[in-house]
Amino acid sequence: MTLTADARTSDGQAPPLDDIDGPSAPALHATRLTAGHVVLGAGFLLAAAIVSILVGPAGLPVGAVLAEVLSRLPLVHLHSGLSATGVVVVWQLRMPRMVLGGLVGAMLAIAGASYQGAFSNPLADPYLLGVASGAGLGAALVVVGAPVIGQIPSDLLPVAAFAGAVLAVAATFALGRSRASERSAASLLLAGVAVAAFFTAVQTFLLQRSSPGQLSTVYSWILGGLSTAGWGQVELVLPYVGTAMVVLLACRRLLDVMSVGDEEATSVGVRAERVRLVVIVAATLGTAAAVSVSGLIGFVGIIVPHTIRLLAGPSYRRILPLSVLFGAGFLILADLLARTILSPAEIPLGVVTAFLGAPFFLVVLRQARRLG
């Protein structure tokens, strides 16, 4: 904790360096990301990543796996003694699964935090504007349509899920805009609820006419998981998730300004509607890419930002970067639980995050009520 930075901010005298080129929020809270926070978050992520690489049903010796990983670092010459299969397990199965889990967790957490900021609503999550129902419909269309259209490779599913998610949020935007002359956050949210209901209805209709095999394929995708993760999926989502994170992180100060209300933000020169649009587009594209490979993993976008908010205060300059680190670490750990609790059987990842998330959500709800 660098107390000096906090003290300077609460003075209101000398603004922190990262505020010079942006509008400054009312300095009621400590707002600046401290080195302590970053070290804590990075340490958590690193620990989660290491444990997840070391543990798995293949029961590889821990020392050999560590040596194998370290041997790929420059200037390190180690012989792990792992068999060829062991090397494949580490580099082709555990490593991409851990990296993909980290990317998806980071994306869902920062998207959830950004939505909460953009809508000033503590219950907002990345699926608020229809991403989940759109992606679900896309997945269902591919699975149910496969026998009709002909032989469709299963790697069309992520593309369809992505397209469905983007389409659903675009529909929410179009409807939310036409409903009121001004695009208020409220009308957007309501349009999101309506679009989600509509897309879910179409998906339910499709699934009801599908065969049990198709039903279980879509259902297992909806539950979410990383059981088929490979480097191909990492390459698929990295450009979207990477860009989305950079854009959202760049908006962190603007979200702080907007937290005092649209009118107040406008009075200091922030165009709240425009910021909201940028944040939503970035969060949506990133989330759509993430769910297209991982399925619908719930509650990460709620649990992680709220934990950070409770521990590090309400400033988005802290919440957004820390959401990336803790979101990644949280999902890597959740996936570790999903594949070890009943090992060698797996539990759907969405079940693990919801099992941890649902009780947490109730706490957040109580907190929100007390604040309101």
Partner: protein
Amino acid sequence: MKRSWVRRFLASALTAAVVSVLLSSATSAAPAPAPQVAAARNAAAGSAFPVTVHSGDGNVTIPARPVRILCLSPSSTQMVYALGAGPQVVGVDEYSSWPADAPRTKFSGAETSAEDYLPLRPDLVILAYPGGTMVQQLRKLEIPVLVLPAATTFADVDSQLAELAAATGHLAAVGAVEASMNQDIAAAVRKAGSAARGESYYIEISPDYYTATSKTFIGAEFSLFGMRDIADPAGRLSAYPQISAEFILKTNPDYVFLADTVCCQQTPTSFAHRPGFSALAAVRLHHVLGVNDSVASQWGPHTIEAFVALIAQTLRP
């Protein structure tokens, strides 16, 4: 401010939920298929009616020999036709693929409103996984309903055959059907000999590694050959657990059967291309076989005989 937000959000979510429930139930009214008349009325009485048989949820009394059977489970359809009760059947579900000339309907067998079935005027409905309160509804309409859930052993298959024989009036045929099935199984096991005793297998139900343990009817088919299911250690909570690519690499099964060729277009080639799988013994020895998905979801005599013969053929080409 925040409190009203919560309330509005919850209220609209609730409305959306109600709307989606209404929409989805509205879609469950499947179009009624054209009634099919039984081609022949077999007068040969195999048993005395009324007869009481054991259903999945208690005893069912069938007052008279049924002549308008609605059979909405592919496995039961195979049994009913094998027993010679085919001419009494007026409709089968859309997934009943054997025999090819069975009167297929658009029903899935999971309908939730008994009214859907009324146009066919059934006097016996056979289901595996009844939807909602279907059984209670049919009882109120005084239509006998027989629930025969998934078999997990060959004994289950035999007892379902016996229940169906009694219910349809073909008790005399049970012995012959069971004998024919047992003969086919014995011939397959004889053909394979000791080729696969102790060999391990992985049966894939979906590409995200859902599988079946030996505690399922398909596992029982492999057990006949003395084969070992790699998924058994994962079967503590479910007989159809999800395992992982890592576990498959570790256990390195001798044989792989892909029962996700229809749902998910998997092939031995796509299997071999998964990360690290080219090193699997089954891949190197070409012991990866794509099979119809139904082998893992249908326990009728036709499916069992065909699949057991296929296993024998794979073990001893």
